[in-house]
């Protein structure tokens, strides 16, 4: 594999960039693999990479029905954080943060990890208390968190609404300084390139149409490009999980919902942190291109359409102007939607299933992107060792029966309620 560096860039500049190799190959599927990962998104690609790197399993195929990185890894708002209250989430996401910190070097691909800090704005003392509960929990778990006062915030986001007429004045906020953003496409491509270099077959335009299960054991996968034998299958198809689970006669505590995001036209740098509004559904960061990347809440009804409707865009931007009234004269450039696997407690599922050799990675709700490295890491472990890793031991299916649910929001099994 070619090494990427400023030297290789300069060298290739003098040969008109005609000698760059492909980032990943385009192989025909083989007859059999040790492991098949269904879904060429961030989690699938990362899982394949860690299977090869951590477990030496390289006879692996990633089957992607479209083009890699075309699902939620390429449709999110690129936010990284581990600002969770419950231990199971905190430890898992914090492990991920540590992987993010060195991911560009590890993958030899600049994923533009940018720890610009994520700020949750609070608009009342009660909200400050709720944030303090979470922030203190983070600190006790060894995760960075600081409280910000109104005056701190006036310096950081002076253009936010600190006026007398503000409907929900800013009281303060909770900040995770190491939170931030990364370039979403680069994450998918970086993992793909490394996985490919270690022998993983990335097979695009290959849709899984069925599974061969015999005596409770997986034996192979049926695809639009023929049948492929395997002993282990990992499902990494957030957004379509139920559709594949149906083929395996598995019923899951998951609903599909569409989440929209939008960007403004690029403007000169202004907003240097990720900011979430506490009195409505709105969060925002400014990309390295200058676009304000904005998101909010689900459209609010089951949907498999990768596009949303106008009311939620209006709702989110209304929240946006409540925080940043100066955004009014910016223009919304582009909107898009992704399908979320909404689990019934808002936390993911990474587990074995009742079928031997079938492993499940789903239920990422709004938060799958930041989990890409840690999810891939623990899922690879779960598949390779046929047992869950300590970090995903609470993310099991059983919790919906035992009652050990991990509900950060506390709204209960109604995923459409924000």
């Amino acid at each position: 594999m070619q090494k990427y560096s400023v030297f290789s860039l300069v060298k290739n500049a003098f040969t008109n960039h005609e000698n760059w190799e492909v980032a990943w190959k385009d192989p025909e599927p083989k007859k059999e693999y040790d492991v098949i990962i269904v879904g060429g998104g961030g989690h699938g690609l990362a899982t394949a990479y860690y299977l090869a790197k951590e477990h030496g399993i390289t006879n692996v195929a990633i089957l992607e029905k479209g083009w890699i990185g075309g699902g939620n890894v390429g449709r999110n708002t690129t936010i990284l954080r581990s600002n969770y209250m419950f231990d199971s989430n905190a430890h898992f996401y914090e492990f991920g943060m540590k992987l993010w910190e060195t991911l560009s070097q590890e993958l030899n691909y600049n994923v533009m990890y940018s720890p610009r800090g994520i700020i949750n704005l609070a608009h009342s003392d009660a909200q400050m208390n709720a944030y303090a509960r979470r922030g203190n929990s983070m600190r006790l778990n060894g995760i960075d968190a600081i409280l910000l006062g109104r005056d701190d915030l006036k310096k950081m986001i002076p253009f936010a609404d600190f006026s007398e007429t503000c409907r929900f004045p800013i009281h303060g906020g909770l900040m995770q300084p190491r939170g931030g953003t990364a370039r979403h496409d680069a994450v998918a491509w970086g993992y793909a390139r490394q996985a490919d270099s270690m022998g993983v077959d990335i097979i695009q335009n290959c849709e899984v149409t069925g599974f061969d299960v015999n005596n409770g054991k997986i034996e192979g996968v049926q695809t639009s490009r023929g049948n492929i034998k395997t002993k282990k299958v990992g499902l990494c198809v957030a957004g379509s999980t139920t559709l594949l689970a149906d083929m395996l006669n598995m019923r899951l505590p998951i609903e599909a919902h569409v989440l929209q995001a939008c960007v403004s036209e690029p403007v000169k740098p202004l907003l240097h942190n990720v900011v979430t509004f506490g009195a409505g559904h709105f969060y925002c960061s400014q990309s390295d291109k200058g676009e304000m990347v904005m998101g909010g809440d689900l459209d609010g009804y089951n949907s498999y359409a990768q596009r949303g409707n106008m009311p939620m865009i209006q709702h989110v931007l209304t929240g946006g102007l409540a925080v940043f009234p100066n955004f009014s004269r910016l223009k919304m450039l582009r909107t898009w939607g992704g399908i979320m696997d909404m689990s019934m407690d808002g936390s993911p599922i990474i587990d074995k299933t009742h079928i031997e050799g079938v492993y499940l990675n789903c239920g990422w709700c709004y938060g799958g992107f930041k989990a890409t490295p840690s999810s891939g890491f623990v899922f690879a472990h779960t598949i390779a060792q046929d047992q869950v890793h300590e970090l995903n031991s609470d993310f099991n299916l059983e919790r919906f029966h035992t009652g050990k649910i991990i509900d950060e929001k506390g709204v209960g099994p109604k995923p459409w309620i924000g």
Binding site: Y4, S5, L9, V10, H17, V22, A23, W24, W67, G74, D87, N110, M112, Y113, H123, S124, A132, R133, G135, N136, S137, R139, L140, A145, I146, L147, P158, F159, R167, F168, R183, A186, W189, Q204, E265, V267, K268, P269, G280, K289, G290, R307, N309, I313, Q314, L317, T318, G319, N326, S328, R329, L330, M332, L333, R334, T402, G403, I405, G410, G412
Partner: protein, 999 residues
């Protein structure tokens, strides 16, 4: 050189009698009424407008409308400053100020242009390959450097002073675009009686009829357009909207349109909104959005002065402006010849370069007849001129058209290029239409529709006037017939237009010999042919990968002039036909939309409604400090003199414990429940028993969600056999009502019960404290307030000064207390009356803070404990859970995790020093010297200063709480660097027997 690039004719749409002054980059120019900023600048010989995103290359105008990728400016300053405005869409208005963006120190001399010199080091995706070492440099050096270069214009820093409005419309037929097919369909539909809305983005209706030399019936195209508009204007069933862009096509035929209302008016009234957003629900949508001309890629095809041929024509015909006086027309098709003819009309002889071997089209012949020779089988290889084009290198193509045989340099001051036409299919695609590729026109056109959307005319790939009119009249009639019974078709008039020969499938010129100039595809994002080649070489072969890797089509113009050229180039390299390559998804908005317009009037204090109790004015007059409780504003405390919050709260709370306090509890949710099955219903909704509640008695109830978590709590009373009055928390009022309706209508429709919100019908006033009985006895002398007459949890109807009142003996404070309910309108009067009579009992109002203090001391749970993650056993509500009957959520309570012995449960905490208040949100730990990760026993949910014992007290929910009572632990808040040794006590800190409420 003022307006030296004006034509001498006056056949356009500008008014040369009305001069308009404007400023660009500090220089004052003038244009005329009807000009755009673009046409006025071009008329003044200004082509250099801004700099491109990545390489900071000098850029001018490519187009004449929404397709413009280059000519972006910053308009106005201060709070009206607006970035990234395309000059072609700005109507000139007196005093307009514009400046170039993305350049420093000036657009003529821009330091950032160094990027262009070094552009070989910045190919597509270069940043993925570098800036990784050393690791710490990315955040400190590389990224700040990249961020500095980010963005085009500057965002204003102040709130927007302008107003935006929303409008909701319904119509039978919405016609988007007022070119020939749009006008025809609107006319046909309107004449057939349908309710029609016709939307046009530009300030003038007519579309291509304003520039094309055609005749319809016995009129010129332009006259026919104007005549048709007059007819439509006179019809009451038609709404005509110009300056209005339909930018989104959503589900269920909902389209969204943005109307520019006042930017073009010199002094708009302050009541005029700047823009208006229209939600239009249309029975049928006719997409007559026309087409956009395609550029051609050739060396340095981005210099100021290189424009689309159709734009050059429109500048001449509509704006009476010449893009240049030494033009080259460069084309692969016939339509650009109409631009050539327009130049000839203005006594300018263009040089014509045509990639084709020949053409026998009518316009080509006409040009030839005027003695102009055409360079067939030729193309432009490269151009020169730093800030504006000054010459072109024209090459003779070889037979394969893959290279040039010979090259010559020709002076020029503009190039008008045409690579054919792309139907504007965005709205159809947004509506879910699966597009198909039309080989004849080499572009995608709408195919199978999913919604009630019909594309006609050029948007449908029908490029002749004849076809457009025929489709327009037919479709307008057919669709309107679904809504009217008039069956009144309008015939298409005869029309005349020149015939065209086919275009050549060639959109990218070979490189000039020995050079590798950039051949741009996407101008704004600086995506060149070499970038697409690189992407494919590196395996980014899906068109979506090409888009994301190179950023092709992701700029402000969203690829209106670049997507198809990119696609065509990918298909050429990959040797695939275009439909196999596929196209990227078209998403709303079609053009960027002002965020303020999307939001409308819900800004500032109107972000959400503000709810105020009927007693609000009294609170204001009496110095209350308010706190938001959801949408409500509630008095938090009433400071006296120089009191701070703590002293005021302690005073208020102590006064309740000692004398009597009064608190506005109007915000509590109230639900009227009636029906023979009401007791049974409550018995199912609440965890405790309700069947035997006597009439005239109230009871505290807790309701769960089906997953076993506490959902809400409150007091409900039985007014008569089948009539109950439920109260809910302020926060959950609306959710509880929906919850009750759900169970009554969906789950147990057999129950005969009705529920109705009465939150706004009642004003609630809590009167609490040992002197409350005496006070109420004085206020309601007819009522026996004794324990026998009105016992705890009793209620009685009475009146005060003729106002009907209902008195409940209930208590949240833990003191002897009552709640007086009157009709909302009498709330203020009653409050004042109680205050007046209460003076002799030392009555004081208390706010939500004192209310919290009082309930925390008593160990009463509230929102901080009932946070959607606690079951009744966690928060000490064990006695509320009936073992005898079933209720909502009961089955969940027997889950393994819910019955574990060491589950977190409610306790009280007192700091060992009896001084340090424990911050809410602190966690409880055993070992104060542990290092992270430190095991947490639980958290502090509520804290107060106990006015009873004069020391801090907190409620916490901790692991195996009951067995921790008496133990010493630490409450820690690492965020505040606080660690407080605490003793665990019962959560019922004051009056654990509850004797006071019954006193």
């Amino acid at each position: 050189m003022s307006n030296s690039f004006r034509t001498t004719n006056s056949t356009g749409l500008i008014n040369k009698d009305k001069k308009i002054n404007f400023t660009f980059n500090g220089t004052i120019y003038h244009g005329y009424e009807g000009d755009t900023l673009a046409s006025a600048l071009i008329a003044n010989g200004v082509h250099l407008v801004g700099r491109s995103f990545k390489y900071h290359r000098p850029r001018g105008f490519l187009g004449v409308g929404v397709e413009e990728p280059n000519a972006m400016v910053q308009l106005h300053d201060g709070n009206k400053s607006e970035p990234n405005i395309i000059a072609t869409e700005v109507e000139l208005v007196e005093g307009l100020k514009a400046k170039s963006q993305n350049c420093w120190p000036s657009v003529q001399f821009d330091i950032g242009e160094i990027n262009n010199v070094l552009n070989r080091f910045f190919p597509a995706g270069f940043y993925y390959k570098t800036f990784m070492w050393p690791k710490s440099f990315w955040m400190k050096i590389y990224e700040p450097f990249i961020r500095k270069a980010a963005g085009m214009g500057k965002a204003p820093l102040l709130p927007d002073p302008d107003r935006y409005e929303h409008n909701y419309e319904h119509c039978d037929v919405l016609v988007v675009g007022s070119g020939p097919s749009g006008l025809a369909s609107a006319l046909a539909a309107a004449k057939n009686g349908a309710r029609v809305i016709l939307a046009e983005d530009k300030p003038n209706f007519g579309g291509s009829l304003l520039t094309d030399e055609v005749t319809i019936g016995n009129m010129s195209g332009k006259e026919w357009a104007s005549d048709t508009i007059s007819q439509l204007k006179s019809m009451p069933n038609v709404i005509l909207k110009k300056r209005s862009q339909v930018f989104g096509y959503y589900d269920h035929n909902m389209t969204v349109m943005i109307e520019r209302v006042s930017d073009h008016i010199e002094n708009p009234s302050k009541y005029t909104p700047r823009q208006r957003l229209h939600y239009i629900r249309a029975g049928e949508v006719i997409v007559s959005t026309g087409s956009i001309e395609r550029p051609i890629s050739f060396g340095n095809n981005d210099r100021p002065g290189i424009v689309l041929a159709s734009a050059a024509k429109e500048y001449m015909k509509v704006y009476e402006t010449l893009v240049g006086k030494k033009p080259i027309i460069f084309t692969n098709n016939d339509t650009a010849y109409s631009t050539a003819l327009e130049f000839i009309k203005n006594d300018i002889e263009p040089i014509i370069v045509d990639t084709r071997d020949s053409s026998n089209g009518e316009l080509v012949k006409e040009v030839q007849q005027k003695g102009i020779s055409i360079k067939f089988n030729s193309g432009i290889a490269d151009t020169k001129g730093h800030l504006k084009i000054n010459s072109a290198i024209i090459g003779k193509l070889d037979s394969s058209k893959e290279s040039f045989i010979s090259e010559e340099t020709v002076e020029c001051d503009c190039i008008c290029m045409s690579g054919g036409w792309t139907p504007t299919v965005h709205l159809s695609s947004q509506a879910g239409n699966k597009l198909k590729f039309n080989d004849d026109i080499d572009a995608f056109v709408p195919d199978k529709k999913r919604q009630k959307e019909t594309a006609i005319g050029a948007a449908n790939g029908s490029f002749t006037l004849n076809q457009s009119l025929a489709e327009g009249f037919q479709v307008g009639f057919d669709l309107s017939n679904k809504f009217t019974d008039q069956n009144n078709p309008t015939n298409s008039p005869n029309s005349n237009e020149p015939s065209y020969e086919k275009h050549e499938k060639l959109w990218c010129m070979p490189l000039p010999s020995g050079k590798k100039p950039k051949r741009f595809i996407d101008f704004q994002n600086d995506v060149a042919v070499s970038d697409v080649e690189l992407a494919i070489r590196e395996g980014f072969r899906s068109i979506e990968h090409v888009k994301r890797y190179t950023t092709l089509g992701m700029a402000g113009d969203q690829g209106k002039t670049s997507n198809l050229n990119g696609l065509q180039y990918v298909s050429k390299i990959e040797k695939k036909i275009v439909p196999e390559v596929g196209h990227t998804t078209f998403r709303p908005p079609y053009t960027p939309v002002t965020i303020g317009a999307i939001v409308g009037r819900e800004v500032g204090n109107h972000y959400l409604p503000t709810r105020k109790s009927p007693i609000h004015t009294w609170h204001e007059e009496n110095n209350a400090v308010f706190v938001a409780a959801g949408l409500w504003q509630r008095p938090r405390y009433y400071p006296m003199g120089s009191e701070d919050m703590n002293s005021a709260v302690n005073r208020e709370a102590a006064n309740v414990r000692k004398n009597v306090g009064i608190c506005d509890v109007t915000t509590l949710g109230k639900i009227d429940i009636k029906g023979p099955d009401a007791p049974e219903f409550l018995n199912r909704v609440y965890t405790n028993a309700w069947l035997k509640l006597p009439v005239g008695k109230a009871r505290y109830g807790v309701m769960l969600r089906e997953d076993g978590m506490v959902f809400d709590d409150g007091t409900t009373s039985r007014l008569s056999e089948n009539h109950f009055h439920m109260t809910t928390t302020t926060a959950q009022a609306a959710n509880v009502l929906s919850h009750l309706e759900y169970y009554l209508q969906v789950v147990w429709p057999d129950l005969d019960v009705n529920v109705l919100s009465t939150t706004e019908q009642w004003s609630g006033i809590a009167v609490a404290g040992p002197k409350s009985r005496d006070l109420l006895s004085k206020l309601f002398p007819d009522v026996d307030m004794s324990n026998e007459g009105l016992p705890f949890m009793g209620l009685v109807d009475s009146s005060i000064d003729g106002i009907k009142a209902r008195i409940y003996r209930i208590s949240f404070s833990g003191e002897l207390a009552y709640e007086v309910n009157v009709e909302s309108n009498y709330g203020l009067y009653t409050w004042k009356k109680i205050m007046e009579v209460g003076q002799s009992f030392d009555i004081q109002p208390y706010g939500t803070e004192a209310l919290s203090t009082l309930r925390i001391e008593m160990g009463h749970v509230a929102g901080a404990e009932l946070d959607g993650r606690t079951i009744p056993f966690d928060v000490g509500l064990n006695s509320m859970v009936s073992q005898k009957k079933d209720f909502i959520g009961k089955r969940s309570l027997s889950k393994d995790a819910f019955t574990e012995s060491d589950r977190q449960t409610i306790v009280g905490l007192v700091p060992l020093d009896k001084k340090t208040k424990i911050p809410e949100g602190s966690h409880i730990i055993e070992d104060n010297s542990a290092v992270a990760p430190i095991p947490k026993l639980g958290h502090v949910s509520s804290s107060c200063w106990s006015v009873e014992y004069n020391n801090p007290f907190s409620i916490a929910i901790i692991k195996d709480g009951k067995n921790k009572i008496g133990k010493n632990l630490y409450a820690v808040s690492p965020l505040k660097d606080i660690s407080i040794p605490v003793e665990v006590v019962s959560s019922h800190y004051v009056d654990p027997e509850g004797s006071r409420v019954r006193s």
